[in-house]
């Protein structure tokens, strides 16, 4: 009988990624509904000691495969290790973060195991009747939501986007014994040669690709008005954009311009700061999922299309918003 909710605890350079903690947090809820436990799985080189912190975040068990072939992510050794654990332990559920690693590893593993995999889940729940996992995810470019089930194959596998689930508070009193697992790895599993690893910071943004935009208009007062907007964007993991007025005034370059004569954007969140929302601008962003507008003038047309409209001072609200978000995100 398959048992327990497993979480692939992604690590890079020996540091566990936030998504690992978030998934353990969610796994705890799922395991409670199933009356089972949460098992965190860490794969890496010399990670056994650090893996103990996974108990602090809620894991009931921690399994580690510690091997030099796992020092930098490569599909085959990681797949082989996950596969070995799944075959040995027969999990009920295995969760992966939907990162550039998880979205490579999970499909390969699911195919090797011959089971179902659901990608980019935004919601996970246990079906009361069947006790199966219900995995809800966006499809069709985000235009629809679908709830997927995997009734006949085990484990039920899912990848979850970072930032969607909530991690538990770190509790150093929670501790346990790490199980070191031998997945039978050896040098021949490294079937591709990593010639070079280059770490880099984020490149220059394309606002049409951004999921979150913090946008400035004439109301921000000057080029320095973009600094607090940039801070807010950074905290949210988004980009800054602008109305034509700021571009014409030389406060920001044209690449950031949203509007009829600029770019059309469709982010998940568009925060309009000091933007009046005249049609030339609205035409470029009105299809945004969530529009939040802050403007001193209660007749500003932006409020006609905003989901949340605040009549207020951008200079007072934005920095406070940034602070509050920093606290929440930890």
């Amino acid at each position: 009988m398959s048992k327990n909710v497993y979480v692939y605890a992604e690590q890079r350079d020996g540091v566990f990624q936030k998504v690992a903690y978030e998934l353990i947090g969610k796994a705890k809820e799922l395991a409670a509904d199933l009356g089972q436990e949460v098992v965190a799985v860490a794969l890496g080189d010399k990670v056994t000691n650090t893996a103990r912190e996974l108990f602090n975040y809620g894991a009931d068990q921690v399994i580690v495969v510690d091997h030099p072939t796992l020092s930098e992510y490569l599909t085959e050794p990681y797949t082989k290790a996950m596969y070995a654990i799944i075959k040995a332990k027969d999990p009920e559920v295995v969760l992966f973060g939907a990162s550039a690693i998880g979205r490579d590893l999970a499909p390969r593993v699911s195919a090797r195991v011959h089971t179902g995999l659901t990608a980019d889940c935004t919601k996970l729940e246990i079906d009361e009747e069947t006790k199966g996992l219900m995995m809800t995810r966006p499809a069709f470019g985000g235009n629809i939501m679908a709830t997927i089930i995997c009734p006949d194959y085990r484990p039920q596998m899912a990848t979850v986007r970072p930032g969607v689930m909530k991690a538990l508070e770190k509790d150093t009193s929670k501790m346990g014994e790490v199980e070191v697992f031998d997945a039978g790895l050896n040098e021949s599993d490294v079937n591709l040669k990593i010639r070079e690893v280059v770490k880099e910071t984020k490149k220059v943004a394309d606002i049409t690709e951004a999921k979150i935009l913090v946008s400035g208009g004439r109301g921000i007062g000057g080029s320095e008005g973009f600094a607090p907007l940039k801070e807010l964007a950074d905290v949210l993991g988004g980009e800054i954009s602008s109305s034509r007025a700021c571009v014409d005034a030389g406060w920001i370059v044209r690449d950031h311009q949203v509007g009829q004569t600029g770019k059309t954007v469709r982010p998940d969140v568009y925060i309009a700061c000091g933007i009046s929302g005249a049609i030339q601008h609205a035409a470029g962003m009105e299809d945004s999922e969530l529009i939040i507008a802050i403007n001193k003038n209660n007749t500003a047309p932006i409020f006609d299309i905003a989901d949340v409209g605040i009549v207020g001072d951008v200079n007072a609200i934005v920095p406070k918003l940034t602070e509050a978000l920093k606290k929440i995100k930890g």
Binding site: D104, A111, E200
Partner: protein, 264 residues
């Protein structure tokens, strides 16, 4: 390198899909069909490798007969051959079943390198490419931002959020390409005329691949996952305007909305 296969999918342009405000359902009529953007980048990478190595490029797709247009477009861009796998047996497939079918077709074709797109804009799973590689028992590299050739070795740039790898690989190999890193070329005018006048799209049915796959792995029946339900996100209600509130209250309202929408 002699043979490159490019796996493509014809998809509805999901950026053009709109919600019917009255019924809350998707309006799919009149939405143009396009070659999936990540796959188009894959075609471009294949054509660049063809220019460097003289390899033959075959484009392969699994889909309904309408996908013929996508095949012609790939031919017009410069691909040499096109194969379309089509049949009711493949309908209703999840990624396991899709990758099983495509792998079955690939087994009929010579290949050194297979290039797929990282993900399709309708399914958005990014699973089919790696799963095809597993069915074929060959290595794969996903999130590919660039490919170069040094003799019989491929030099692949593999992107992550915070880094990239330069990987040396030998064939056989499967790659999944990132649409945002490679600008695909236009079709040429002559290429379009040739695609319709000189070239043909080979259509394969289940019969043509059945020896390469267990039918239990195909179609709706062969899919480990299934859709329990699908629904559109609720139609946008009118917004709320807050006046005469303090900056702190404003921050609260915004944060609560961001949380409600799972942004934070």
């Amino acid at each position: 390198m002699k043979n490159i296969l490019v796996c493509v999918k014809q998809v509805p342009d999901t950026t053009e899909v709109k919600l019917d405000p009255k019924t809350g359902t998707l309006i799919r009529d009149g939405v143009p069909s396009i070659i999936n953007p990540d796959d188009k980048a894959g075609i471009e990478i294949a054509l660049q490798l063809k220019e460097k190595t003289g390899a033959k490029v075959t484009v392969l797709s699994m889909g309904p007969m309408q996908a013929d247009v996508a095949m012609r477009e790939a031919l017009a861009m410069g691909c040499d051959d096109a194969v379309l796998l089509s049949g009711r047996e493949f309908a209703g497939s999840d990624t396991w079943a899709t990758s099983s079918a495509i792998a079955a077709a690939i087994k009929n074709l010579p290949y050194d390198l297979i290039i797929a797109g990282r993900q399709a804009i309708d399914g958005d799973t990014a699973q089919v490419g790696p799963q095809i590689a597993e069915h074929l028992g060959i290595p794969h590299i996903s999130y590919v931002a660039g490919v170069d050739v040094e003799g019989d070795t491929l030099i692949v740039k593999r992107d992550f959020e915070d880094r990239y790898h330069i990987i040396e690989a030998k064939t056989p190999l499967l790659l999944t390409a990132l649409g945002e890193t490679t600008e695909p070329r236009y079709m040429t005018v002559g290429g379009i005329y040739d695609a319709y006048r000189e070239k043909e799209v080979k259509v394969w049915a289940y019969e043509d691949v059945k020896d390469n796959v267990d039918p239990a792995n195909l179609g709706l029946k062969g899919s480990p996952t299934r859709v329990k339900k699908s629904f559109t996100k609720p139609v946008k209600a009118a917004g709320t305007l807050y006046e005469d509130i303090s900056a702190d209250e404003a921050v609260e309202k915004i944060i609560s909305k961001l949380q409600e929408k799972y942004i934070i």
